[in-house]
Symmetry: C2
Subunit: 221 residues, 2 copies
């Protein structure tokens, strides 16, 4: 490896190690010693890349947001209708909250930042903007009712998704998060769907648990 | 005042002072010295009532939950239909999040407890149980569609309300929280309302901003 590649690999190992430590202990209780042990790097290497625990937490939040946005862009690249894409994005985020340590840690740190009085607004704003564009698209495609205000729906989807995964975390350690996201869409869709869009709401909300395969088989995508 | 009354008044002053300190500084940064100053009691009196910062935080969360539940019971006592009562309970909680220091602090501490790995489940469970009973009532009254599962709707209303007020706090310091709660209901109602219930969804969701007076005048309650 050339020197630049090695530095990049070390930085990535530190962020991954920090994610594991923050996810387990939270921001307040995490120590840089724990991070250097989890990442298998020396404290010198750690301090070369990050000045403080705050720097590390910011890097984990940025990496989490990058992962979520990369998955979202891959879904957007599928060129599916707007409403379908919104549901698939929520599905992908839900799965990352279960399987990706950096995403779990980033969400925990984002909540902690809010409670420590330094709210992290960017990820919410980016996600709301994406949902607003998709709502407008879904209205043009006659999937979503013309009476729906895209800005209001986008803010509500993001806020409501945030609450659903958070309450699932408090009550069940997120073991029921996919079921709760599916229930969210099952409850919302009958009030959102355009009169000309004749899919069953429950078939659309089941995208959360079944993914794209079923609708693809039915040639609905 | 007899001794018991004085002790009770001191305890109440301490809880009120702790709420102000926790709401401003968060659990991690709050100190017992700040609480004794805010409550205008000696540290001796403080330690007589509370052994630790954790004890104090628990007392604030309990008092917050008591206030929210007392308001909810007053609304329940109005014997209005189930769905109407659910909307009015969300309205009351939203107003308390703006105006009641103990409620603001209690919610902040509840979120902090979740991020510190000691989740506070009781308030969520109590509120979900109340919403479930009201959904069943609303179904019997033909305000709510027969296809709605009361347990699923109750969990979703509580989770979604939690997210709405939290994201409003992050993005606007809760200045838009009542508008966001109204939007939540405006988006949900068309999919929830029974076919035989001919109120306009927007008239019902406007209960959030206008309270009961308008519907009372229209003799709908």
């Amino acid at each position: 490896m050339v020197l630049q590649d090695r530095a990049k690999a070390t930085r990535e190992a530190i962020v991954a190690g920090a994610a594991v430590v923050f996810e387990e202990h939270g921001y307040g209780n995490a120590s840089l010693t724990q991070v250097s042990e989890a990442a298998r790097v020396t404290k010198g290497a750690l301090y070369f890349h990050f000045q403080s625990k705050e720097d590390l937490a910011k890097a984990v939040i940025e990496e989490q947001h990058r992962i979520v946005m990369a998955h979202s862009e891959a879904i957007l690249g599928g060129n599916q209708p707007g409403l379908t894409t919104m549901i698939l994005m929520c599905r992908a985020f839900g799965l990352q909250l279960i399987h990706e340590p950096v995403v779990k840690a980033g969400i925990r740190l984002t909540f902690e930042a809010a409670t420590f009085g330094q709210p992290v607004r960017g990820p919410y704003e980016d996600w709301i903007a994406a949902m607003e564009r998709l709502t407008t698209q879904g209205k043009n495609e006659r999937q979503i009712r013309s009476s729906i205000d895209p800005a209001a729906l986008a803010r509500y989807i993001v806020a409501s998704f945030t609450g659903v995964q958070m309450v699932s975390d408090v009550l069940t350690g997120r073991t029921d998060v996919m079921q709760r996201i599916e229930e969210m869409w099952a409850l919302l869709l009958p009030g959102l769907m355009h009169e000309d869009f004749h899919e069953e709401p429950s078939a659309l909300s089941r995208l959360i648990s079944t993914g794209e395969s079923r609708l693809k088989r039915a040639a609905l995508l």
